[in-house]
């Protein structure tokens, strides 16, 4: 199940998704986090951020809305406390970085890519829950490309760009960041949503809108990865509603080369090691020698069918 992606030498293709695993401290109390293929750490900004007012989460059928607002302790503390903690585990780190302007991203990328255990960067241009930065960089192909280029110029490690599903054509953004030098894609971030409380008749989340995650968004992510993976040649880390090994197989068939598990960590803190164990069994049951055989097989087989006609 090992996977070799730019910057990420993974024992298996499973990692917790950024924002759903903090910096690993809480989950390390439940299991040895060295078992994971990689860890995508919580989005880091140059300055500490308090985030949005509470309530920050609301439940939906098969999903949850969140508007945390990129709360994090800031670059300095991540470098001095969080990354050294994670260095105690044998696991590559995908450092998710965010900012409000290009210079912020560049500064964080430059510093964080020098950390010994950070082997790749996840460029967050798709957070729907912050007023400045975040998604505003991820909805215009030329803006996304320019930011990717600027970060690529200073980073000492490969760059994965995390794409937003809140766009008309995600393939346009994907192609633009690939041309700008992205080494891989992470997709998808959350879908912008809202819930209204029947008693108060007001939005439940203080920020009014939030990002929808969980099983409810899996079909959207599968569709987008299916489309994008046919149009780019860089690998895709797939995410959105993964809760079990079957979901992982589906993501690989759609075109992902690794996956990130997000919201399911909140429901079951042991979900990642459970998926890793189940996946191994499923592959053996299906007599699949290596999981990489499955990447994009859903559309590859479509092509072979159409070409044989």
């Amino acid at each position: 199940m090992d996977m070799q992606l730019p910057g990420l030498t993974m024992k298996n293709p499973i990692m917790p998704a950024s924002g759903c695993f903090g910096f690993g401290r809480e989950f390390a109390k439940f299991y040895d986090i060295s078992q994971l293929g990689a860890i995508a750490i919580k989005a880091t900004t140059e300055e500490p951020r308090f985030g949005n007012p509470t309530p920050r989460v609301a439940e939906t059928p098969g999903g949850m809305l969140n508007a945390i607002g990129l709360q994090n302790p800031g670059l300095e503390k991540v470098l001095s406390d969080e990354l050294p903690f994670l260095a105690g585990y044998d696991v590559p780190i995908l450092a998710n970085i965010a900012g409000t302007k290009t210079e912020d991203y560049v500064k964080v990328a430059e510093m964080v890519s020098k950390a010994k255990n950070v082997t790749a960067i996840e460029l967050n241009i798709s957070c729907p829950n912050v007023k400045e930065g975040g998604i505003s960089f991820g909805t215009d192909p030329s803006v996304a490309a320019a930011l990717t280029r600027a970060v690529k110029d200073v980073s000492e490690v490969p760059i994965y760009v995390k794409l937003s599903p809140n766009v008309t054509d995600i393939t346009e953004i994907a192609k633009a960041v690939e041309q700008a030098g992205a080494d891989g894609l992470a997709m998808i971030n959350t879908l912008l949503g809202m819930r209204i409380d029947l008693k108060s008749e007001k939005p439940i989340i203080a920020n009014r809108t939030g990002g929808l995650s969980g099983p409810a968004i899996k079909p959207v992510a599968i569709r987008m990865i299916y489309e994008v993976s046919q149009r780019v040649s860089i690998p895709i880390i797939g995410m959105g509603g993964i809760t079990c090994a079957d979901d992982v197989l589906e993501y690989f068939l759609a075109g992902a080369s690794a996956v990130a598990v997000g919201t399911a960590n909140f429901v079951n803190p042991l979900v990642c090691p459970e998926i890793i164990a189940d996946l191994e069994e499923k592959l053996s049951e299906k007599k699949i020698d290596h999981i990489s055989e499955l990447v994009g097989r859903s559309w590859k087989s479509c092509y072979s069918l159409s070409s044989s006609r």
């Binding site: 920050r56 939906t60 079951n268």
Partner: protein
């Protein structure tokens, strides 16, 4: 802190929308701190998706049994209320930091003020305080007589006053109205209930020594998701915070901005 499939051994409705559920499992042996909570999966599927934070009401370490009281408010708790004796219950816990027990000397007096579904964690606290030879006084606030529960159980432990907003049981008014009127003496105050109640306690009673137990919408319950953070009091930077789930839910007076 662990996740375990426990077994339900008792489940019944004890007041309007209030249920008492007892389960047994190894993780109960870790529940020695009153005020901690559990994160419970109410169904077996991913609908509803998230776990529900519910406080520990009582623990029998010998029998490895834990009792929780919860109010059916939404889909999750309604689903939980359908679970039967013998069913397995997926419990994560014990979580958070509870009420400290060693800040009062033997013979001291603790005033415990609870409101609504904030009453249950005070029961285990009261039992633990009594075990330490501390006098306990309870003021339990409910909306109405139909919402009241566990009064006889609290009475077994110490002086107990019930207040109801509509006056259908006990003192008519809020818990703060009673305490302001009667001015009971105490050395330390412990409270759990709606934020508005605790805000009134801080502003109107202005206790010298108190511990507050908070609740907030949670995602993970273990400190990873940052959904339940609260700003601290008098922080000039605006960046300082505490997580209700893992730094709390119990905080000393003056830490959290009410």
């Amino acid at each position: 802190m662990r996740k375990e499939l426990t077994t339900i051994v008792h489940h019944e409705r004890i007041a309007d929308q209030i249920y008492e559920l007892t389960f047994t499992g190894e993780l109960v042996t870790h529940m020695s701190e009153p005020g901690q909570f559990l994160h419970i999966r109410t169904g077996e599927q991913y609908m509803p998706l998230l776990r529900r934070p519910i406080s520990i009401c009582d623990v029998d370490l010998g029998k490895k049994e834990c009792t929780i009281l919860y109010r059916t408010e939404g889909e999750g708790t309604r689903l939980l209320s359908k679970r039967r004796v013998g069913d397995r219950l997926d419990v994560l816990g014990p979580l958070g930091n509870g009420f400290p027990l060693d800040t009062l000397e033997q013979g001291g007096t603790a005033l415990l003020i609870g409101g609504g579904i904030g009453v249950p964690p005070l029961y285990y606290l009261s039992r633990k305080l009594v075990e330490r030879n501390i006098h306990v006084k309870h003021v339990l606030g409910f909306a109405s007589q139909k919402d009241a529960f566990y009064i006889d159980k609290f009475e077994m432990l110490g002086e107990t006053v019930v207040t109801t907003i509509d006056g259908s049981l006990g003192f008519q008014g809020f818990v703060t109205d009673y305490v302001l009127d009667e001015n009971p003496s105490y050395d330390l105050l412990y409270t759990c209930g709606p934020t508005l109640m605790m805000k009134a306690i801080e502003e109107q009673l202005n206790p010298e020594r108190a511990y507050y137990s908070f609740e907030e919408r949670m995602g993970c319950g273990i400190g990873a998701c940052f959904a339940c953070v609260c700003p601290v009091k008098d922080d000039p930077t605006g960046n300082e915070y505490r997580k209700i789930c893992s730094d709390g839910p119990v905080f000393p007076q003056g830490v959290i901005q009410l």
